[in-house]
């Protein structure tokens, strides 16, 4: 771990990293937020997902101001349910990141597999996969997600819905997001498969699957990484957007998006903290991840020196 870190630090890539303030800043913010999300149960003063621990009378407590009924003080205030906004953000971050990362992983696995197959096998298989991708694009991401969400709600028994919601979101967002991965991997695979090292592997007698996984995959990782980063930001935002359409994370286990959806209804009424803090967190997260992706794109591009 330390060794690989120091290898990273001293590599070309590490050098570029050390000399880019944007990269350092966004990596720091990302790390901080991811760390906070992972450590939420340790850091958060309250457990907002435990409804039984909530006191409704704490509702709408302003930041750093004692509540009129209960006298409790909340760092960033409390929301309409009397949940500590700070704790809720930490836990919401956890949900958002979990949904985002899992959705991207799902999209990545799906897209990369299909892209590899399409690019390597070519011909009709390629044609078929790419047509499916076209059809997929015909349903814009939000529509796909909305419909999948609808279906899942219909299929899953009501008593499991609140636990399944997150998984449904992951599948819905992931399923609408595999196409970029597939396209890029397919393109890169078509280039790589004609490279001599692949020919050499064929000559040695490697089977196609082994060639795809052992030889080609590692060499198409860079663009995958870039897309994954940017998709992560997109997925987190997509989750928020879906939440606005009423198909996001459940209100008892809110994501940042759900918090914003709830918070925006208090925009006019003066309880700005319910909206502002989650929105700022989301902005910071998406901004950091996006600029990290941007920077990666440039840093990993061999032609951009």
């Amino acid at each position: 771990m330390i060794r690989s870190f120091s290898a990273f630090w001293h590599s070309d890539f590490g050098w570029k990293f050390r000399h880019s303030p944007t990269a350092i800043l966004s990596a720091l913010v990302t790390l901080l937020l991811v760390g906070a999300a992972i450590a939420a149960p340790l850091i958060a003063p309250f457990d907002p997902f435990n409804s039984a621990s909530l006191n409704l009378m704490n509702g709408f407590s302003a930041p750093m101001t004692p509540n009129a009924f209960t006298g409790q003080v909340f760092l960033l205030g409390a929301d309409d349910q009397g949940r500590d906004v700070f704790s809720t953000i930490l836990y919401g971050l956890r949900v958002s990141l979990f949904v985002g990362v899992s959705a991207v992983l799902f999209a990545m696995v799906l897209g990369v597999t299909l892209g590899l197959i399409a690019g390597y096998v070519g011909g009709r298989v390629d044609g078929f996969i790419m047509r499916v991708a076209d059809i997929q694009l015909t349903f814009p991401a939000i529509l796909v997600a909305m419909l999948i969400f609808g279906i899942a709600k219909g299929i899953i028994a009501p008593q499991y819905r609140d636990q399944m919601a997150i998984w449904v979101l992951i599948i819905a967002i992931g399923l609408s997001d595999w196409v970029p991965f597939a396209r890029v991997v397919r393109g890169a695979t078509m280039v790589e498969k004609n490279r001599d090292y692949v020919q050499a592997a064929r000559l040695i007698g490697r089977k196609p699957v082994a060639i795809m996984v052992l030889h080609i995959l590692p060499n198409v990782l860079n663009p995958i990484l870039v897309i994954a980063t940017i998709s992560l930001a997109l997925a987190i935002i997509a989750e928020a957007t879906l939440s606005f359409l009423g198909v996001g994370a459940p209100p008892t286990q809110p994501s940042l998006g759900t918090l914003i959806r709830i918070g925006q209804t208090f925009l006019f009424s003066g309880e700005w903290w319910i909206l502002l803090f989650p929105a700022a967190t989301l902005l910071a997260l998406a901004l950091a991840v996006n600029s990290l992706g941007d920077w990666l794109r440039d840093a990993l591009n061999p032609r951009l020196k």
Partner: protein, 325 residues
């Protein structure tokens, strides 16, 4: 009596037709690109057989068919008596390996050198301990290099790694597809020397593909000249350079820059290589040939013995007489 490698009537065409619907609507025929056509030659065990020709002449295609990476559409390749494409085990038995043109593309950039070199043995299920180190030293690199990644090496060193990988499979025949054309002269010399040394040490047979006449002349025991997928002439280097029989060979030799040139005013070659999809009828070289007659435009010349070489030219005799005069 039979040679180690026997290539007979080898042919390969690629379907480059437009999609079905276009052909139906636009009333187009199917189109075939004949990359290699009716090529026959033999390689003796331990010899270096070279193929020269301009870009697109089908050199790599032949090499790939010999290596078993591509199936011929016609003819056959027999290595050590076994038909390479009919009998799947033949390739393994013959131990055919290949060295590619671009040393930068022929090594997986994400793998360490050790893993690259050992891969053939791993696939075959053999013992790999110490193998990479031994082979690296054999090709003139050091054992420590096994831990490095390809990008830490120069082009010449990478080509040595490629050779080491080829050697790992204990090959008897190595197909070298322009192994030095991406290298600088000083490095090229290193690689060519290494290949010669290995041949002497291990008794390897090489099929050497190049477009550089001088390199071919240096390396080969026998040279085949390809043009538009057809074998135009085949001879030993001495014969070929002293007495080229085919007008195309003559043109190639004339066009190749000579180090003591300067004063020489040559006849410039005419035209460029035609589109391989619709090659000229008869002899493929006829549109550029100063000696072409009607027969050349109608009938494809057979490759035949002539004055110690094999030539595919209707007018070989006349031309020989002319240049002797």
């Amino acid at each position: 009596m039979t040679a180690f490698v026997e290539v007979s009537h080898l042919g390969r065409s690629f379907d480059v037709s437009k999609p079905w619907l276009n052909r139906v609507i636009e009333r187009l025929p199917r189109r075939n690109l004949v990359a290699v056509s009716d090529v026959s030659f033999q390689i003796e065990e331990g010899a270096v057989y070279a193929l020269v020709g301009e870009s697109g002449s089908g050199k790599s295609t032949i090499g790939r068919m010999l290596a078993g990476l591509m199936t011929p559409s016609e003819g056959q390749v027999r290595v050590a008596g076994a038909d390479l494409h009919a009998d799947p085990s033949a390739r393994k038995a013959a131990g055919i390996q290949m060295i590619f043109q671009d040393p930068y593309a022929s090594l997986n950039p994400r793998w360490r050198v050790r893993r690259i070199i050992c891969e053939p043995v791993v696939v075959a299920g053999g013992e790999t301990a110490g193998l990479a180190e031994r082979l690296l030293e054999q090709v003139g690199l050091s054992a420590e290099d096994a831990e490095k990644f390809p990008h830490e090496f120069s082009g010449g060193q990478r080509q040595r790694i490629c050779i080491a990988r080829a050697l790992a499979a204990n090959p008897r025949l190595i197909i070298c597809d322009e192994p030095t054309s991406a290298l600088d002269v000083s490095v090229q010399a290193q690689v060519l020397n290494l290949m010669s040394d290995l041949r002497d040490e291990l008794g390897l047979t090489y099929m050497f593909i190049s477009h550089d006449l001088t390199v071919v002349r240096h390396m080969a025991d026998r040279i085949g000249v390809l043009y538009l997928g057809r074998l135009m002439e085949e001879a030993t280097p001495a014969q070929l350079f002293a007495r080229p029989r085919h007008p195309y060979t003559q043109m190639l030799l004339a066009a190749a820059p000579l180090m003591d040139g300067r004063t020489r005013e040559i006849d410039l070659p005419k035209g460029e290589v035609p589109d391989p999809i619709s090659p000229p009828p008869g002899c493929a070289f006829n549109p550029r040939c100063p000696f072409a007659v009607d027969l050349c435009r109608k009938e494809r010349p057979e490759l035949r013995e002539f004055g110690g070489s094999r030539v595919a030219c209707h007018r070989a005799e006349e031309i020989a007489a002319q240049s002797a005069a």
